[in-house]
């Protein structure tokens, strides 16, 4: 950044540092920051995701059609990930439980879809409570979001409409609890699942989104200054840790581990992984919020998935002699999870490295799980928790300065300026640890309270009978159809 004149290097450096520190201190002045927030709140009616800065360098932009369209298309893509996930998970279960497993995801397109516009969005991206941990109530029913025609821009420095942003974020809110279901399938009561998702979404997901993306505690406007491009902490660590805690509290399937069964439909798993990959272009790519610069997150998303798929298969090939279809699907998803927090912050090389390392980490985690015989049934923590953690930490190490502009990520850019990628790595580590603690505690409390009010799992007889019939009165495959 600075060019020191030749000679007297030491004193120049000292002077530089003094100036820089004073400058940076000024940037961190809470008074200034509060004022910038206030201005933005007036300008856009929302203290936005990653927007604004103490430098107040972001200017008001008119709403852009291309950026808004990116968000709308992105929303549709992310929506498709939830039925994709249902197929991905559904393929792993026994045939008698596949509908229940798929409903645990699919149903949330109804439940969270409504909950999000009624109150979830407001709790995540409102400012009414003036808290770095939770939003407010002013945007309930998306009241006032985007103005009368819904075309008002999100915030200064952003040209996407507020309404497209609210929809896009809603799709994330739907899939995150759906991911948790993987750890709990084939035993959890659907009624308990209904209440768990409703409460968890409001008390754990919305606060996480606020803290990371809504100008809150963890993010670049808060106290930790960690960066999370598309949900390494909010989506993957949150769902992974909740899955781990949920599986620990609810306990293993009665058939585990003595009479476990192989997946009932491997083609479903491949179909689901393909849909997830497709939808992930929206998940990561559209998280750039700007059509012109969305090329990199689209690219890194795909390269990391490719690298993850390849890595998992090659490990299997060397270790067990055969690359498997389930491994290809799992490796691709691991790579996608890993790149999620990094997608817009890294270039090609690091994106491939992230895909490789995340897939390797998840592979090891899955083997460990099998060895200790813990019934996280479909490896939700092992893929999303471990993958999200790996990705979040690697983001700190591999993020490129040019892709973390100070206008949009003031604290994170400051950390990188002062102590480089190592500093950012420490911030990421703090964010990971904080997220683990918050989500684990929140999930445990919700499950303990729910468990006191209703049985969390079905009876052993119902488990034996199969949850498709017990919970829904249906069966996926009728042998007598003809």
């Amino acid at each position: 950044m600075h060019r020191s004149p030749i000679g007297g290097a030491l004193s120049v450096a000292t002077t530089f540092n003094r100036f820089r520190n004073r400058f940076l201190d000024r940037l961190q002045d809470p008074q200034l920051r509060r004022m910038a927030f206030f201005l933005m709140a007036i300008g856009a009616g929302i203290v936005p995701l990653m927007a604004g800065s103490a430098k107040a360098a972001l200017t008001k932009m008119p709403t852009d059609g291309a950026d808004t369209l990116l968000m709308l298309v992105g929303s549709a893509l992310v929506l498709l990930m939830t039925p994709g996930l249902a197929f991905f998970y559904g393929g792993f279960t026994r045939a008698k439980n596949v509908l229940n497993c798929m409903m645990m995801s699919f149903f949330l397109m109804g439940l969270i879809g409504v909950l999000w516009v009624v109150i979830g969005y407001s709790l995540a991206f409102g400012t009414g409570f003036k808290s770095p941990f939770i939003g407010g109530l002013e945007f309930m029913w998306l009241n006032g979001v985007g103005g009368q025609l819904g075309d008002a821009p999100l915030a200064d420095g952003f040209a996407l409409s507020s309404t497209s942003f609210a929809l896009f974020q809603g799709m994330f809110a739907i899939i995150t609890p759906a991911l948790i279901s993987g750890a709990l399938v084939e035993r959890v009561s659907f009624k308990a699942w209904f209440w768990f998702c409703l409460i968890w979404s409001l008390l754990v997901y919305s606060p996480m989104a606020k803290m990371v993306w809504g100008g809150g505690f963890i993010g670049p406007f808060g106290s930790i200054g960690a960066i999370d491009f598309a949900g390494g902490t909010v989506v993957h660590i949150a769902s992974g840790v909740a899955a781990l805690v949920g599986a620990a509290i609810i306990g293993p399937r009665t058939t585990w581990p003595d009479s476990k069964r192989p997946p009932h439909n491997v083609p479903f798993i491949l179909l689901g992984a393909g849909l997830l990959w497709f939808g992930w272009f929206g998940f990561n790519g559209a998280s750039m919020f700007a059509a012109k610069t969305a090329g990199y997150p689209f690219l890194t998303t795909s390269t990391a998935a490719s690298a993850g798929l390849l890595t998992w298969c090659l490990i299997e090939w060397f270790k067990d002699g055969k690359p498997t279809a389930v491994g290809a699907a799992t490796g691709a998803v691991a790579g996608l999870v890993g790149i999620t927090p990094a997608a817009g912050f890294v270039y090609m090389g690091p994106s491939i490295l992230i895909g490789v390392l995340t897939a390797a980490a998840c592979f090891i985690a899955v083997q460990v799980k099998a060895a200790i015989q813990f019934d996280d049934s479909l490896d939700t923590f092992m893929v999303h928790g471990v993958g999200g953690t790996t990705g979040a930490l690697l983001t700190g190490i591999l993020a490129s300065k040019a892709l973390v502009p100070a206008d949009y990520f003031p604290l994170s850019a400051k950390i990188m300026e002062e102590s480089g990628n190592f500093g950012l790595f420490i911030a990421q580590l703090k964010a990971v640890i904080f997220s683990y603690g918050f989500v684990a505690l929140g999930t445990a409390v919700i499950l303990w309270i729910l468990g006191a009010l209703m049985p969390l799992r079905v009876s052993a007889e119902d488990e034996e009978r199969g949850l498709d019939y017990v919970a829904h009165g249906e069966e996926a495959y009728d042998p007598m159809t003809n």
């Binding site: 192989p262 799992t330 592979f363 083997q367 099998a370 490896d379």
Partner: protein
Amino acid sequence: MKMITAMVRPSKVDAIKTALVALDIIGMTVTDSRGFGRQKGQVERYRGTEFTVEFLPKARIEVVVPSAKVEAAVAAITEAARTGEIGDGKIFVSPVESVIRIRTGETGEVSL
């Protein structure tokens, strides 16, 4: 009349059918089934976890033939189903008391 029940490799069903039809034996029932004998199943791996799948896919062919044709039919099935490897299957022969064709009510060998 005898009932021939053959548990065979699914991939051999077509060859067996052709061989039986060549003997003028028409009408048989084929069922997808699973089982194991000395083969004792196979090991499958999903996400690195090993599953021993005891029951392997088999086809169960049921065909009822006049007593005079039993030997020829068994020989034809044996020849068509054999690979020489473990897992070729088994053939059971058992007596059949009577047979009725539902459409016409005919009984006896004529209704086979």
